[in-house]
């Protein structure tokens, strides 16, 4: 399973764009990149998933370079409610096996 590396923490202010980068140097051909958000005492919540290039949905964008060895989650105009832990996961979602969570990035949004 591909191991991921993320910054442990990040600070931001309301209204700013936040970019969280995840390294996954040994990503496999069949692996997808998935990002989750977790608030205290809640289960992880799916944000976005991608395989290559750029994916955008109503809450975030995911940028994946051609070599796929890293990915960047972009949160536009964050608010206080975006304060959470963000996890980058890499795995073959069709494998029926496990997805491994790393330490995640604790994002703190300040007023």
């Amino acid at each position: 399973l591909a191991k991921t590396t993320q910054p442990i923490s990040m600070d931001s202010y309301e209204g700013q764009e936040v970019n969280i980068t995840c390294s996954h140097n040994n990503i496999a051909t069949n692996d997808y990149i998935t990002w989750y958000q977790q608030f205290p005492s809640q289960g992880p919540r799916f944000i976005i998933q991608g395989y290559k290039t750029k994916v955008t949905n109503e809450v975030a964008s995911l940028f994946i370079p051609a070599d796929r060895k890293s990915s960047t989650l972009s949160l536009p105009r964050v608010s206080l409610s975006d304060t959470a832990v963000y996890y980058c996961l890499v795995g073959d979602i069709r494998s029926r096996g496990k997805l491994i969570f790393g330490q995640g990035t604790e994002l703190s949004v300040k007023p």
């Binding site: 005492s41 979602i93 029926r96 496990k98 969570f101």
Partner: protein
């Protein structure tokens, strides 16, 4: 939007007792998972389940743990004889496993406290 539901939200038990944590996955999902999170630590994989059998399990998932899908809707985690170190949030998750976009959907967890 359909969601994974877990009961109870909080369970307190004495060391050595058996506990069963219950989950109702999203109805058309085929893959089921249990994860746990000890306070202040990362989310840890326990077990994955598909087609009425365990697909993969971690080192944490020893003989004290078992999973079952007793009917068409429930997915349970049983801890046979709880230990103090089993105190954690236990999250159930499910996925459809179909196509290129089948992320895991998590419940809000059961907080297990072993005294």
């Amino acid at each position: 939007e359909p969601e994974v539901t877990q009961t109870p939200s909080h369970q307190v038990t004495q060391m050595g007792q058996e506990v069963i944590l219950r989950c109702v996955p999203i109805s058309n999902h085929l893959y089921f998972y249990w994860y746990r999170q000890i306070l202040g630590q990362k989310v840890e994989f326990l077990v994955s389940f598909y087609n009425n059998e365990i697909s993969e399990k971690s080192e944490i998932f020893d003989d004290q743990f078992s999973v079952e899908r007793p009917d068409g809707s429930n997915f349970t985690l049983k801890i046979r004889s709880t230990k103090l170190e089993d105190s954690a949030m236990y999250f159930c998750a499910s996925s459809s496993g179909q196509g290129n976009n089948s992320p895991l959907h998590f419940g809000n967890g059961t907080r297990l406290t072993v005294t």
